[in-house]
Subunit: 200 residues, 2 copies
Amino acid sequence: MLNNVNYVDRRITKSKNALKEALLVLLLEENIDHITITDIVNEAYLNRGTFYKNYQSKEEILDEVLEDVTADLTKAFRAPYQDQQRLAVKSLKASTVTIFDHVAKYSTFYTLIFKKNRYPEFQHTISETLKSLHLQDFSNISFNAKINREFLACYRAYATFGVLKEWVHDGFKYSAGYMADQLVEILCSSQGGDIYRVVI
Amino acid sequence: MLNNVNYVDRRITKSKNALKEALLVLLLEENIDHITITDIVNEAYLNRGTFYKNYQSKEEILDEVLEDVTADLTKAFRAPYQDQQRLAVKSLKASTVTIFDHVAKYSTFYTLIFKKNRYPEFQHTISETLKSLHLQDFSNISFNAKINREFLACYRAYATFGVLKEWVHDGFKYSAGYMADQLVEILCSSQGGDIYRVVI
DNA sequence: ACTATTCTGTCTACTATTGAACAATTCTTA
DNA sequence: TAAGAATTGTTCAATAGTAGACAGAATAGT
């Protein structure tokens, strides 16, 4: 009767999350090669058998973390213009900017890659994701025909990336809400008149 | 073979902790009477059956939280003189002061009682615990015969209590480490010459 | 007062996680 | 290189947690 499952059992979700967070915490201190499966399950407060039922290797966990992060980053970035046809920078509300909440949610991951400078390829994935979002979602990103839209998307993506990175690097010195306020101010002062056509 | 258990299954620990934290989070927003069992298990991301397997009522959870907090508070308070016969205030190391880490660990609970001013009787339990610790652990707390040791213990307990409360009330504005530094400075300046006989 | 809705407490069949044990393998380090 | 220790990957029976269903109680809305 319960043979055909189209839901994910909460136990699986929780065990996997615990294993992911545990590995990230351990990675803050040492290289992945020096981390044993036993270390991970101890940190995750799980039986070793549970690791093997959910994953084949340590690396598989990391892959899934990156999937989680990019998916959630995308969702957070899009939050201000979710279900909108247009995005007027001038009337952007800071409360709809959730990208800093996203970073806080994955603080261990971002601390690992931004502060400890581990897995530089992950940094690249983050910035590439931001660039793609600018490029794909804002069809008319460049109003000036002389400006290559690829370059503009790159410019804007790295600008945001830098703010996120500095925030993490300084140990989340300010609240996510304050950071959102600041970002909105910056966007308004530089692109206040822009209205982007949204294409999700 | 597994009939006689002298350990606590990790699943029980985790489920109970999730239910405790969930109830506290919900209590930040509304009165316990308006919180349903369904609310709690949703917040805890657990099946309702799990609630009933571990607890009889919402109130039972709260009782257990208070037990947890007082036990951990006691352990944290004693950390600086654990396994010592004497405690010389002058040579007290801030790194051994873990009472602020304890409060951070139970931040939801302390925010509830200190910031939201819910369950004033719990505040009393905390201050009473601190008073008992001074009184029981420091056999020679009062060096001046004219000073009633009960009153002195009360005075010192509430002093600490106040610092904890203010810290929570201001939303954990400073780090636990900084707070420990400050407390040690205050203790040194006022009781720097004291050496307490420890009786645990 | 009546009704629709939510919440409760309990139940069932199923399954993910559990502690423990084990031989095989890999690391230490002497 | 040899011996000792730690880690691995797998197994087992036991059990806590799972989704879902249910009837009855409490609650809200009209």
